[in-house]
Symmetry: C2
Subunit: 316 residues, 2 copies
């Protein structure tokens, strides 16, 4: 493989679990993560960036991996006090996690762009990989649900993803520009990996940022996607529900269809091996592996498989 970075399109915890294996295979310095910011929001005056923080904390080795968000060993003193003041304390931030948010919000309020603040936080947490937001511009993933029009976080955290989702839409997306560094990283990438994240609301917003899809189609031959679904089920969260709302068939085949213009390789779960021929018939090079990335060894294995696909000759 040529030089150049390994670029990963990433959502939150699904991507983080994958990245934990990838950094065993690729030098951390060579890694560029493009993170979803559609889940970001302003909450109690703070700028919340759940996916960027999840990636940062996992790569730094400080994440609470069993909970999936926040910092390991954090306390919730401020959160408990806030719950005494307002019923709007539904978003959970630990005390040390709050410091991250104060830092970011303070910097943003001085006009520092999100990609720079994200880099500063990564540096302070000792992350050697580059973490880029998909855009410095505000984009909101919003859902029209049976319980009303909700920000993704309201649906996911506050409503525990119970309301039926009728439609997903994005505010700000038409005006959003890819964050500085994305175009260069993708163009120079020796590999682009689409992490096993929710295709509808984690990878979807990244691909909707004007210009990003064109950047990626240009490097299709160096791109591999990892299916986030195993036998049509998500490891965690409302992936299936939100794929349905977007009209995506909620299994590995649907994911492969979605990414066929963007990726030349596809990794799917061993339990879905029967789908491999159909996916290969779409023009993909296919690898079949256990994709439940609950330990680093499994994540490493999937990362190796994804990168190996790029060493194979192109499919007929």
């Amino acid at each position: 493989m040529s030089a150049g970075p390994v670029v990963v399109l990433a959502g939150g915890v699904g991507a983080a679990r994958f990245l934990r294996g990838l950094v065993r295979v690729v030098p951390a310095d060579d890694l560029v993560v493009i993170g979803n910011t559609g889940d970001d929001m302003w909450w109690q005056g703070l700028y919340i960036a759940p996916d960027l923080d999840t990636v940062t904390y996992w790569l730094a080795g400080v994440a609470d991996e069993s909970r999936g968000w926040g910092l390991r060993g954090d306390t919730f003193t401020a959160q408990a006090a806030l719950a005494d003041l307002t019923s709007e304390a539904w978003f959970q931030l630990g005390d040390r996690d709050l410091a991250t948010h104060l830092y970011r919000t303070g910097r943003l309020s001085r006009g520092v762009p999100l990609h720079q603040v994200t880099a500063e936080l990564a540096e302070r947490f000792g992350v050697r990989s580059r973490i880029l937001p998909m855009s410095d511009d505000p984009v909101e993933t919003r859902l029209k649900t049976a319980a009303g029009d909700l920000h993704f976080q309201e649906y996911f955290v506050r409503e525990h993803w119970r309301p039926l989702v009728r439609e997903i839409y994005w505010t700000g997306i038409e005006a959003a520009r890819p964050a500085p560094g994305i175009a260069e990283a993708v163009a120079a990438a020796r590999a682009v990996l689409i992490a096993p994240s929710n295709p509808a609301i984690s990878i979807g917003p990244i691909l909707r940022v004007p210009g990003v899809r064109r950047l990626l189609t240009a490097v299709r031959g160096r791109t591999v996607a990892v299916s986030p679904l195993i036998q049509g089920r998500a490891v965690k969260g409302p992936t299936v529900e939100l794929m349905r709302a977007e009209g995506i068939r909620p299994d590995a085949l649907g994911v492969a269809q979605l990414y066929r213009d963007l990726a030349a390789g596809f990794v799917l779960d061993a339990a879905d091996a029967a789908l491999a021929p159909a996916i290969a018939a779409m023009g993909y090079r296919v690898a079949v592996r256990p994709t439940l990335l609950d330990d680093i060894a499994a994540a490493r294995e999937v990362a190796v498989a994804a990168l190996d696909l790029l060493r194979q000759p192109a499919a007929a």
Copy 2:
């Protein structure tokens, strides 16, 4: 005395110590505090209102009275984590105190005016008195010092009030309007008390809000000021330094001169009894009491003395 509220012009801890005694004499429901907001600032994305919080916490009985700011028994987990991220963590907020700030900032970001948020916080902390900011509009107390042009908090907290102050000025003051409720409370007041707060940077900004001075001169006969200085020294903080910068003689006489158009009564410390005749000669009714308000009994005594002055016949 007639009905109507007892209105107190207040800064931070000096006023809070006085109020702690006043609420033993006046029913808490009858009390309206007009608080200085010139010390307010945006810090790490949060709206900080030190004097309003100090008054609220002390009246609620939850203040850390020995430290003078914040909540008793608070922890500083977020603060310590923030200090790891940035050198700008100089302003101290405990974890539970942070919840107050998140609540306020969240409400302000939704367009709720400061006086309403202040009332909500007071209510949630169980304070029955009304606490009003001097204005909903942003006013900043700024200092031209030997170390540059500083926000009051930068001078006071970050620089430990070491730099020589050349000049004090206020941004936003010309456009500031008295907060809703101030005009009515002052006009209806059975007594107006000027707390023993810094005349330059605590009471000064309140009096500079356009319209407030006129409201107060109209009730001069029902107004009593308490000197914040004892033998030309402040109990705490840079009162003398800042009075000098404002050209105010830094002793009880200077304070009395400053308030002579606003107040008919004046309480000064027993150690300054020799100044009483000169102050009476300015037209004041004068009471002499121990004004070091380090316990509730002393504060109560000063409150009684101040209110008693209003029961006396007017000075000749």
